[in-house]
């Protein structure tokens, strides 16, 4: 492990940066809002005015100004480049956000997604002219089904939460087909679940029943058994769970739920721990979404786009949404209408996130089965290495035990220091790191969930660990300023979030400026 001696702490005054005339600080440029620098008559696009012609707009022409300032190309490039430099990114540094899987985004994937044959084709052009696109979707499906050992896949869901909705709608359709819709209206969800799980269930009119986890952080089969009743439609379980632990009783839980007439929805957000190593279908899962923007490296893009294909067991497969693929000899078809099927319907205008499918398949083919397994093992190894390197200092809510691809700490070790989880996270920013996921899952007090992923070298992990140890030592030694005043070195210091919520300003307006 890298052993970096603690630097002498500079005094607060030394850390103050001098005021500048421009407000910029070296490479860190302040950038005004577009509306403060743009002009209504400026444009970065040359378009020739059409010759006069009789319009066919039926008197609905826009008469008032829209209020859209423009920039010429050099101004626009500078505006957005300067904005970009105020963001942290996985390309620039370790991004240990637990449950988010911020792994390297290969640039080959970007290149391939931009090929004309993928990017410049229309979702409704004749299918005879898009056989390559359908073949790509078929190949991606084949891999997703093999990696999960499931029967069918719905590619159209646009993100993880959309996938949850997809899985639950298939479950509801299956229950409806059994004539039990009126009586089966409860979904079991553990307290450690992502917020999307209860939100998705509620959106479809299910009520949520919380299943308690055991003292070891996993859901015991007994707790599920106790919660099961004839009103249970499904359980939504994340595996590995958001505490970074493999749900040890998963097979038994699946059996119990199935025997009680319910379905097993698995939140696949943490698939990166087991892809290529274990198959959810073997556990008894009925439906699971796969976040292509996590496990399969499609970029998060500052909050999307994602893609959340859902794999189904045989008993849910008939209810999968349209469109789906059907092969007829050499030809592939998209079935776009529900007539003559048991499909629950359509979830989105077209066929899903094709641009993400290309990237994900490029990632999968590059890895192959062995490479995917290696990625999962390295992710798990890295998380455990972080755990083992910090366990003497930081506390874990469920004791020191083997974790999967992410490790969960709580704030018990900070008690009495006056430093909170949030303070600790903000101090990481000054050290050049994006903080880990904080205050989630809710089952750990002051949670810090660290997911290093397989993309980090050992040297990178060592510096990260040494940094956290140095911060921990400071906190325990009473250097509160390093935390409560942090971040000092970022483009902004801590924000007044209360002000933002109390008097919401959600757009620029001329009268306020």
């Amino acid at each position: 492990m890298l052993d970096r001696p603690t630097r002498p702490a500079p005094s607060i005054e030394d850390r103050e940066t001098p005021a500048t005339f421009t407000g910029h600080r070296g490479l860190d440029h302040e950038e005004p809002l577009l509306f403060e620098i743009g002009r209504l008559d400026a444009s970065g696009v040359d378009i020739e005015e059409p010759a006069p012609f009789p319009p066919r707009l039926g008197g609905l022409e826009r008469t008032e100004p829209i209020g859209l300032p423009g920039l010429t190309e050099p101004e626009a490039v500078r505006h957005y480049v300067r904005l970009s430099r105020r963001n942290y990114s996985i390309d620039a540094g370790l991004y240990p956000l637990g449950s988010c899987t911020m792994k390297h985004n290969p640039r080959l994937n970007e290149k391939l997604a931009r090929l004309d044959g993928f990017a410049d084709i229309h979702p409704l052009q004749p299918q005879s002219t898009a056989q390559g696109a359908l073949a790509l979707m078929e190949e991606l499906s084949r891999w997703l089904l093999a990696l999960t050992n499931m029967s069918a896949v719905a590619l159209s869901p646009k993100a993880g939460a959309h996938g949850e909705l997809c899985g639950l709608m298939a479950i509801k359709a299956a229950i409806r087909a059994r004539g039990e819709e009126a009586t089966r209206n409860v979904v079991l969800i553990p307290a450690s679940a992502h917020g999307t799980n209860p939100a998705s269930a509620a959106l479809l009119g299910f009520s949520v029943r919380i299943v308690p986890a055991g003292e070891d952080g996993v859901v015991p089969a007994g707790a599920v058994e106790a919660a099961l009743a004839p009103d249970v439609a499904a359980i939504m379980l994340t595996n590995p769970n958001t505490c970074g632990l493999f749900e040890r009783d998963i097979v038994e839980i699946a059996r119990l739920v199935r025997e009680a007439g319910g379905y097993f929805y698995c939140d696949g957000a943490n698939f990166n721990a087991i892809a290529g190593v274990a198959r959810p279908g073997d556990f008894g899962v009925d439906a699971m979404h796969i976040n292509l923007h996590k496990t399969f490296s499609t970029p998060h893009g500052g909050g999307g786009p994602g893609a959340g294909p859902v794999v189904f067991s045989e008993r849910l497969a008939p209810y999968a949404p349209v469109p789906f693929l059907r092969r007829d000899g050499e030809t592939l078809h998209l079935v776009e209408h529900t007539d003559g099927t048991e499909s629950f319907g359509r979830m989105t205008a077209f066929h899903g996130q094709m641009g993400m499918f290309v990237r994900a398949l490029a990632y999968i083919l590059s890895h192959g089965a062995d490479g995917l397994a290696q990625a999962s093992r390295d992710a798990v190894l890295s998380a455990n290495y972080v755990r083992a390197s910090l366990r003497d200092t930081m506390t874990q809510p469920f004791g020191d035990r083997v974790c999967m691809h992410e490790v969960l700490f709580d704030d018990a070790w900070l008690r009495g220091t006056g430093v909170t989880t949030l303070d600790f996270a903000k101090a990481m920013i000054d050290e050049g790191y994006h903080p880990m996921t904080v205050y989630f899952p809710l089952v750990a007090h002051g949670a810090m969930l660290i997911e290093p992923t397989e993309s980090e070298s050992k040297a990178s992990l060592d510096l990260f660990i040494a940094t956290l140890r140095d911060l921990a030592a400071s906190a325990l030694a009473g250097d509160r300023d390093r935390f409560t005043q942090a971040p000092r070195l970022a483009p902004r210091r801590r924000l007044d979030e209360t002000l933002a919520a109390r008097k919401p300003v959600l757009r620029w307006s001329a009268d306020r400026a």
Binding site: L68, F118, G302, A500
Partner: protein, 446 residues
């Protein structure tokens, strides 16, 4: 493997620190009999060159719009995207960052979202907009759910001019959630009487302009009728370039606007990823779905931006959230906002005029053909043709002759008796030669 930085020696050292003999021991909680890759009958990894060849071959089997006179629309439009847009969205700091949960080091994303929200509000004529939805169709379904929450009613009325897939998405969610939807018959000539459908049980009316068949609709009278009955008017736009030429929905009285923003900055991508726009009135703010970037100050009093009103959202409110949405379309919203910034007011208006001019020119040309009838009295850049025979077959025939000649209505409405209708869109990307090629292909089709 080129993406894995750890060496075997590193792995061994790390196992030593952890205190286990093998990685397999780390999977001790998983059922042992299920831990094996024996069941994976899948190939090994490929080099960058091999991967490129394989996917390149798949891409080559498709006919891209760049290789054919191209006239498809129906909710996805091919516009010219300035080169700087794609360059900027590929900046590492935009492409490879997460949702801006740590605002001090995410001001780039937060500021462009704030600018995006301002642009969307201006474009739609609404007071506030969110930071994007997955696409127009899901934005539309979310708008209906929001209207139900606001009105405490459970019945939506969908116009027959609404994009059929949008209507299906709304119906799917509503059917599953036990809510009522009345869908009017396909309305080729924008003649339906939506006002007659509204009573005090109706939560919202969903109407699109330009509608699916290309007709432009004045929503003012409908907005009045909605207001009289305490229902909300949801306006849908699938071609946002039209907003450079047309009265905005807000000015016509819409309460919520759900739109597809793909036309600006985003390629066709065979249907996704796209970007849903969602705008409403200030009064309805707290029932909005999705993320919102808001202005505030930092500890030094400097202006800064932050995700706000998150008590509406699933990660705080869980089953009581206004939506389950988490990941949205951040990078597509960025492409949208950059393209719109490059256009500016002047550019967008001119782009809209060119689109309309090209469509008028195409409509006039096609109207002269003996076997084709232009059905629209009004349109922006897309209109409906009645052809002789089956439009789907004619489209296949044209494709075989190298022309991507439009979308047969039957592709989306298979059993509606509209097999002879063809939707044709013409953007700035079409040339006179393209239009001549389409006319010739249609004339020769039978």
């Amino acid at each position: 493997m080129r993406y894995h930085p750890m060496s075997e020696a590193d792995r061994k050292d790390m196992l030593g620190v952890i205190g286990v003999g093998s990685v397999a021991e780390l999977y001790a909680d998983a059922p042992a009999r299920m831990l094996s890759i024996d069941g994976f009958d899948l190939p090994g990894g490929k080099t960058e060159l091999e991967t490129e060849r394989l996917l390149g071959a798949m891409a080559a089997r498709n006919t891209p719009a760049s290789r054919a006179p191209f006239f498809l629309g129906a909710g996805a439009y091919r516009h010219h995207i300035p080169a700087s847009v794609d360059h900027l969205v590929q900046r590492s700091e935009f492409l490879t960052s997460y949702t801006p949960y740590q605002p001090e080091i995410a001001q780039g994303t937060l500021q462009y979202l704030f600018e995006f929200q301002t642009q969307v509000a201006a474009l739609t004529g609404m007071e506030v907009a969110n930071a994007s939805m997955y696409d127009g169709s899901t934005a539309c379904a979310e708008a209906v759910l929001m209207a139900h929450r606001l009105t405490k009613r459970r019945k939506a009325v969908l116009s027959g001019g609404l994009h059929p897939h949008y209507a299906e998405v709304v119906r799917t969610v509503s059917r599953m959630a036990g809510e009522e939807v009345a869908t009017l018959a396909p309305d080729v000539f924008a003649k339906e009487d939506l006002v007659a459908e509204i009573d005090d049980s109706v939560s919202c009316v969903v109407v699109q302009t330009p509608d699916f068949f290309g007709n432009l609709r004045d929503l003012s009278a409908l907005a009045d009728a909605c207001r009289r009955h305490g229902a909300l008017l949801i306006g849908v736009v699938t071609e946002v370039v039209s907003l450079g030429a047309l009265t905005p929905l807000g000015a016509m009285g819409a309460d919520i606007v759900a739109a597809e923003g793909q036309s600006l900055g985003n390629a066709l991508n065979f249907g996704g990823p796209y970007v849903g726009l969602f705008a409403t009135r200030q009064a309805h703010l707290r029932q909005m779905p999705g993320r919102l970037a808001g202005e505030t100050v930092d500890a030094d009093g400097r202006r800064a931006f932050v995700l706000t009103l998150s008590t509406r959202e699933q990660h705080i409110r869980r089953e009581k959230a206004t939506s389950n949405i988490c990941t949205n379309s951040g990078l597509c919203a960025l492409a949208f906002t950059i393209h719109l910034t490059l256009l500016g007011e002047r550019g967008l208006r001119r782009l809209a005029r060119v689109n309309h001019a090209n469509a008028v020119s195409l409509a006039d040309r096609l109207a002269r053909l003996a076997n084709v009838e232009v059905l629209n009295a009004t349109f922006f850049n897309e209109f409906t043709l009645r052809v002789r025979g089956d439009a789907a077959r004619i489209v296949e025939e044209m494709a075989a002759r190298g022309v991507l000649g439009g979308v047969p209505v039957s592709r989306l409405l298979p059993n509606a008796g509209l097999d002879d209708l063809l939707l044709v869109a013409s953007a700035e990307t079409n040339t006179d030669e393209d239009r001549a090629a389409l006319a010739a292909a249609l004339e020769g089709a039978h």
